[in-house]
Amino acid sequence: MTSHLDGNVLAGTLSELTGTDPSDTMSQCLGCRDVSPLAAELVFGTPDAWVVRCRHCDDVLLVVLHHEETTRVTLDGVRWWTDLA
């Protein structure tokens, strides 16, 4: 895949972890403090390894790894994350 997608594509993978669809959850970028719905963030990679970048400053927010039916998410670039849309 040569181009990025957006957070809409993460709904299935992350819902396995969160139990609900996270598309309209809001998070804040630790770097630039932009607040966005997950669906609007920029997503690079493949279904096995997604890198989620801030739509505003391009910093890495999350890395989502999926391997053998297990999902692991690093949240290094997220200041907070809420389901309050």
């Binding site: 990025h4 809409n8 709904a11 299935g12 598309s23 669906a39």
Partner: protein
């Protein structure tokens, strides 16, 4: 350790109808017992499993917005893709895949929404917007609905016949490579003037849904903001190649 409650997230789905939409695009209607319906604009993850156990998952937008267990997806073949050539060229009625969803609670239109809506689709990006057009019509919604559909040529359009007769939506066609004979607008990419011409029609500021390939979506979103649309009222969904 995996939590046990999630093992049934994938549902078996049977292909119950298949229709060629364009030379590279195909509609598949899937029946997935327990699916339970979806909102207009949502997508499904589709999982294929090869005989050797290898699995591939891709997300496809749903063109239908029904309450039951059936959904229509529409797939455009990506020549070097891993999944789309199989769905366009090989899978047949009666074959099974697995689906997960419905997914996506952000890029959706609900029949109770009353504000004006502007839908802008590029290529196969029409699919979730078609679900919104269908849901709008099925609900008898009076929310003003306008669709701008950008395709390379008339032969590349998904759902052209249905859009020609759809009620409650005003459709503007943008042909980027070849327009029909006698078409007033020369073939060319969607530009600010095309969208400003819509503005002149006098709508109050609409909610905007943009879907298509990444380059299309970003170009259109930037143009919308440049001509005065509120970024907070623009929702986007990008299509990848797979």
């Amino acid at each position: 350790m995996r939590r046990t409650g999630h093992v049934d997230v994938w549902k078996a789905a049977t292909v119950v109808a298949a229709t060629q939409l364009t030379p590279s695009g195909r509609s598949l209607t899937l029946d997935a017992p327990g699916w339970g319906g979806n909102l207009a604009g949502q997508h499904a993850d589709v999982r294929l499993t090869a005989p050797d156990g290898y699995q591939a998952v891709r997300s496809y937008s749903i063109a239908s917005a029904d309450a039951g267990d059936r959904m229509e997806i529409a797939v455009d073949r990506v020549p070097d893709g891993e999944v789309s050539p199989f769905l366009v060229d090989a899978i047949e009625v009666g074959d099974q895949v697995e689906v997960r969803g419905p997914l996506g609670g952000w890029f959706v239109w609900r029949p109770e929404d009353t504000e004006p809506v502007l839908l802008i689709g590029g290529g196969s990006g029409i699919v979730p917007l078609m679900a919104m057009v269908r849901a709008h019509e099925a609900a008898g919604s009076t929310a003003p609905f306008r669709l701008v559909y950008s395709v390379r040529s008339p032969q590349d359009a998904f759902f052209a016949d249905e859009l020609a007769t759809a009620t409650g939506v005003e459709v503007t066609w943008i042909y980027t490579r070849r327009a029909p004979d006698g078409w007033a607008r020369p073939a060319g990419r969607l530009v600010a003037a095309d969208l400003q011409a819509l503005e002149a029609a006098g709508d109050e500021a609409p909610s905007v849904f943009v879907c298509g390939p990444t380059g299309f979506v970003e170009s259109v979103a930037d143009t919308l903001v440049a001509i005065g649309h509120d970024p907070a009222r623009i929702k986007t969904e990008r299509f990848g190649g797979a």
